[in-house]
Every structure is written in structure tokens, then in C-alpha cells.
């Protein structure tokens, strides 16, 4: 198989688009450290950017002393918790169903064994 994955074939238009966007919204960095935000020109929207809590949950990053959570992130976590709770409720009802099924099966088996013993004695 020819391995074409070593080099990305980017179309000229895509390169131009990325260059254009990079000029429009440049990132600040010195080679080792980069940041999204430009000091002093943070808008409200930007200042509510990433969240340490999400990084800790999804990217397994260690959390710092205090974690500040913005409203949208809190809503996202709330949504995910409610989804998980719904999942737990569904699972619990399934477990209950299986418990009852197993109990009925057990009782039926016992009755069958009793019948077999009774038949053997009678025979």
C-alpha cells in the first residue's frame, strides 16, 4: 500500500484561507509558549474562553487551586450529568427487570425439581 499520509496535500485555497485567518486573528507566541488572548484587548466573550474544569475532565489535565466555571460550561456539565442520571435510571429499571426474571426463573426451576422428585418417589 502506498503511504500518502506522510505529507498532507493541502489545496492552495485551503492554504490561502488558513493564512488569511492567521493574519486576521494571529496567535501570540515565542516558539514554546502560545496564547489565544492578547493582553489588554480581551473582550467579554474571549475572557470567558476555556475552562480549567473541562480540561481536567476531558484532557486529564491536573486542576489548579481554584477552578472557575463559566455559565455555558456549567450548563454543559449539568446536561451531561442529567444524561448520565437518565442512563442510571434506565439501567436500574433494567436491573430490576432482570432480578424479577431471575427470581421467577429460580422459583420455576425449584418447582420443576420438586415435581421431578415427586414423580420419582411416586414412581
Amino acid at each position: 500500500m502506498v503511504d500518502v499520509a506522510n505529507e498532507f496535500l493541502l489545496s492552495t485555497q485551503l492554504k490561502e484561507f488558513l493564512e488569511y485567518e492567521a493574519k486576521k486573528n494571529p496567535i501570540k507566541g515565542d516558539g514554546n509558549k502560545f496564547s489565544w488572548d492578547e493582553k489588554g484587548v480581551q473582550s467579554d466573550r474571549v475572557s470567558t474562553g476555556g475552562s480549567g474544569l473541562l480540561d481536567a475532565i476531558y484532557l486529564k489535565k491536573p486542576t489548579e487551586g481554584t477552578v472557575v466555571v463559566e455559565k455555558s460550561v456549567a450548563a454543559l456539565i449539568q446536561e451531561r450529568i442529567s444524561n448520565l442520571e437518565e442512563e442510571i435510571t434506565r439501567m436500574r429499571s433494567r436491573v430490576r427487570f432482570f432480578k424479577i426474571a431471575i427470581l421467577i426463573f429460580f422459583v420455576a426451576t425449584m418447582m420443576l425439581v420438586g415435581e421431578v422428585f415427586a414423580l420419582l418417589r411416586g414412581g
Binding site: 499520509a5 506522510n6 498532507f8 493541502l10 485555497q13 485551503l14 490561502e16 484561507f17 488558513l18 493564512e19 488569511y20 485567518e21 492567521a22 486576521k24 486573528n25 494571529p26 496567535i27 507566541g29 516558539g31 514554546n32 509558549k33 502560545f34 496564547s35 489565544w36 473582550s43 466573550r45 474571549v46 474562553g49 476555556g50 473541562l54 480540561d55 476531558y58 484532557l59 486529564k60 450548563a75 454543559l76 446536561e79 451531561r80 444524561n83 448520565l84 442512563e87
Partner: protein, 411 residues
């Protein structure tokens, strides 16, 4: 060029002078005529003028060289394409096909398209797909045309045509009923033209001029910014980190517990086809040619004509309003992307792997699936090159998978 543009503006004015209201729909239909083999669909409830609008545009472009077939009348199987010449068969034993007027006409109208029988719609579908028609084992090519169709989606006596058939229509515009003021205007108009709105419509362009205009528009080159916006818009409506396209389980069940459950993707049951991209590009070119420029808002507006007949939403209350709401979210998403400066990050990452930038990229990827897809492709390459360990990648950490990839590749 200016002359042709003026003629198209005149066409829009002439149609607007005979059709009250729905100015956006008229403009969309005019824009869509600016590329070869155009096919436009008008949807409206009965009596809102969808057939009139179709005829006005066909007449304005093709004059008398137009044929309309109607789903409301009896169209026999295959008759729309051609019929057998019986005398030739009887006298000479030769199967000679007489190609139907619909096949030969430059202007093709399909009235009540959802009432066309499946055989006729299959013939029309083949014509739109391959630019040719078949009858009695013979084929003939169909030259460039203008095709306009209309339907009433609420009509009970309809056939359900397959989604690929509707996908062949470049745009689908909806007509709304007239406001109180507009009703007065319509009464004046009917009086002025003595009820002969369509008959009074002049042919504004010759067919040669139409062809020339289409060539001019086609030769335009769009800026990379516009192309990037179009591709992002369509990708946002297609993408699913759980690969909706190949999944038997569809949203909302598929989205249970998904990281991107609050994103646009979770509202889409069936994504739009790749054709949306080319149609939006055609429309962007047409806007540039006719209106002088194309903006992001213009593209969002055009999406309202391109997407409704190509996708299915999870919950529909009012299709146009629901798509409008999704497009509003797209606008906010674009701002978020700008504030994250993610394209600048991707630009650098394409040039080479930088750990600090990769970390920022991972954060951006957890907010945007389209970006995540691109980053995951880069990760694949970096894992192969030994720059990144498999378990460090966002795809492993988040349990995401690119369509068609095998997790074992990361091992």
C-alpha cells in the same frame, strides 16, 4: 458583461412587476439561473402563485421555447421523454423514437412535481443527473437548459420522491401568502395586465445571452475566505463525531452522552449532501456577478435556499425557522472560532508539530468538531512519525474516531 448584468436585473424587475411579494424568493431564483443546467424548486401551498412565478421566469429567459408538464394532469409512462414512431415500425420494422417537446425545449417546467408519477420523475431525474434521456433503448443528449419546478408539500395526492431526486434541485424557495397591503397591489396588477400576467411577460434575454452570462459567472474565481466559509458551513451541518452517516442509530438516540450534544450536529438527522457545497459556490459566484459582492450573511441567507430539501432535522416545528435558528448558531460559532484563533493554530500545526500549539489545538478541538477532525488527521501522522504517543491524542482521550479508521492503527 455590464450589459448582460443589466439584462438580468431587468429580468428580476419584470418578474417583480408581475409577482407581488416574495422578493427574496425571486432574487434566489434569478441567481440560480446563472449556472448551466439550473434546476430550481418552488414550494408553496395552493394558490400562492408558484406556477405563475415558474412561468414568468421561464418566459423571461426562454420566450416561447418552453414546455411545462404537470403532475396534476395525466402524464403517461415515458411519454415525457419520447414516443415510438409507429409508421416506421409498421412499414420498415425500425424503432424510431420521436423525442418529446419537453426533451428538446430550452425551458422546462415541472408543475406539481410531487404529483408526477414515479416513471416520469425517474426520467426527469436521469435527465438532471446525466444530461441525457432514454426511450425504447435509444438515448439522446440534452443541451443546457433552464428547469423550474414547483410543488405543494401539503398536497395529499402526492408521490413521495426519493431524497436524491430532490437533491438534484439546486435550490428550494418557499413562497408566503400576501400581506394585507400586498393583496391590494395584486388586485391593481391583475387589473393593469387584464389578468394576463404570464402572457405579458417579455423574453428579456436571448438564449445566447443566457449562455454567455452563465459562462461569465462560471469563470469567476471566489476568494479563499468565501470558499472557506462555504466549506465550513456545509461541514458543520454534515459532521458527526459518532459518524451519523454510517450509523444505524440516528440522532437523538445517537447523541446520548455525546460531548457535542449541544452543538448544531445534534439537531440534524440526515445531513445535506456534498452538492450543497457546489450549489453554494455557484450562488456565491452569482451574487458576486449580479450584486457586486458576497458576504457571510449572504451565504447564510443562501443556505436557507440550499439546505431545506437536502436534510432532515431531529425535531421540526417550522422547517425554515428551525434552519434559521441553526444558521444563527453558525454565526455565533464563527465568532467563537475567531476568538479561539483556531485557524491560526491549525495553520501553524500544518507547518509542523509544536507541543505548545498542539495543547492549544486540543483545547480548541474539544469545542469544535470540524477542527477536531482536522487535528485527529494530523495526530495520525504524528503518531506514525513518533512525535506523539497514541494515548496522548485527543481521539484516544475522548474516544473519538475518524470515519473509516481502525483504532488499531494507533497501537
Amino acid at each position: 458583461m455590464g450589459d448582460l448584468r443589466d439584462k438580468f436585473k431587468t429580468l428580476e424587475r419584470e418578474v417583480g412587476a408581475r409577482f407581488i411579494g416574495n422578493k427574496d424568493a425571486i432574487h434566489a431564483l434569478i441567481l440560480d439561473q446563472l449556472h448551466q443546467r439550473s434546476a430550481s424548486l418552488v414550494r408553496a401551498h395552493r394558490g400562492l402563485g408558484k406556477s405563475t412565478l415558474m412561468l414568468l421566469i421561464l418566459k423571461g429567459l426562454c420566450g416561447e421555447d418552453l414546455v411545462v408538464i404537470s403532475g396534476a394532469s395525466e402524464v403517461k409512462r415515458g411519454e415525457v421523454v419520447g414516443r415510438l414512431h409507429i409508421p416506421s415500425l409498421e412499414r420498415e420494422g425500425v424503432e424510431k423514437v420521436l423525442w418529446a417537446a419537453f426533451t428538446k425545449a430550452k425551458g422546462k417546467g415541472l408543475d406539481e412535481v410531487n404529483r408526477l408519477n414515479p416513471y416520469t420523475s425517474a426520467n426527469v431525474h436521469h435527465l438532471m443527473q446525466f444530461g441525457e434521456v432514454w426511450a425504447y433503448g435509444q438515448r439522446t443528449g440534452v443541451e443546457d437548459y433552464v428547469l423550474l419546478a414547483n410543488e405543494n408539500p401539503g398536497d395529499p395526492t402526492t408521490f413521495i420522491h426519493p431524497p436524491p431526486f430532490y437533491d438534484r434541485f439546486d435550490i428550494c424557495v418557499y413562497l408566503s401568502s400576501l400581506t394585507w397591503r400586498e393583496k391590494f397591489m395584486l388586485q391593481d396588477l391583475i387589473e393593469k395586465y387584464e389578468g394576463r400576467l404570464v402572457e405579458s411577460m417579455p423574453q428579456v434575454l436571448s438564449l445566447e445571452e443566457l449562455e454567455e452570462a452563465r459562462k461569465e459567472v462560471s469563470s469567476l474565481r471566489m476568494s479563499s475566505e468565501t470558499l472557506g466559509q462555504i466549506n465550513l458551513l456545509v461541514r458543520d451541518f454534515q459532521v458527526c463525531i459518532r459518524n451519523r452517516e454510517e450509523s444505524e442509530v440516528k440522532p437523538p438516540a445517537l447523541c446520548e452522552g455525546c460531548h457535542f450534544i449541544r452543538d448544531v450536529c445534534s439537531s440534524i438527522k440526515e445531513p445535506p449532501s456534498e452538492r450543497s457545497t457546489s450549489v453554494l459556490t455557484h450562488l456565491a459566484k452569482a451574487m458576486t456577478w449580479l450584486d457586486g459582492s458576497v458576504s457571510f450573511n449572504g451565504l447564510l441567507k443562501a443556505s436557507l435556499w440550499v439546505l431545506p430539501h437536502r436534510m432532515a432535522l431531529v425535531r421540526v416545528r417550522n422547517l425554515l425557522q428551525d434552519i434559521n435558528a441553526l444558521l444563527d448558531r453558525e454565526r455565533a460559532k464563527t465568532e467563537d472560532r475567531d476568538s479561539r484563533k483556531q485557524w491560526a493554530i491549525l495553520n501553524e500545526l500544518y507547518k509542523g508539530y509544536t507541543p505548545a500549539l498542539y495543547r492549544l489545538g486540543k483545547e480548541a478541538a474539544s469545542e469544535d468538531i470540524v477542527f477536531a477532525e482536522e487535528l485527529m488527521r494530523l495526530e495520525d501522522q504524528w503518531v506514525k512519525e513518533g512525535k506523539v504517543r497514541g494515548e496522548e491524542t485527543i481521539s484516544v482521550q475522548m474516544g473519538w474516531k475518524l470515519p473509516g479508521s481502525w483504532r488499531g492503527d494507533r497501537a
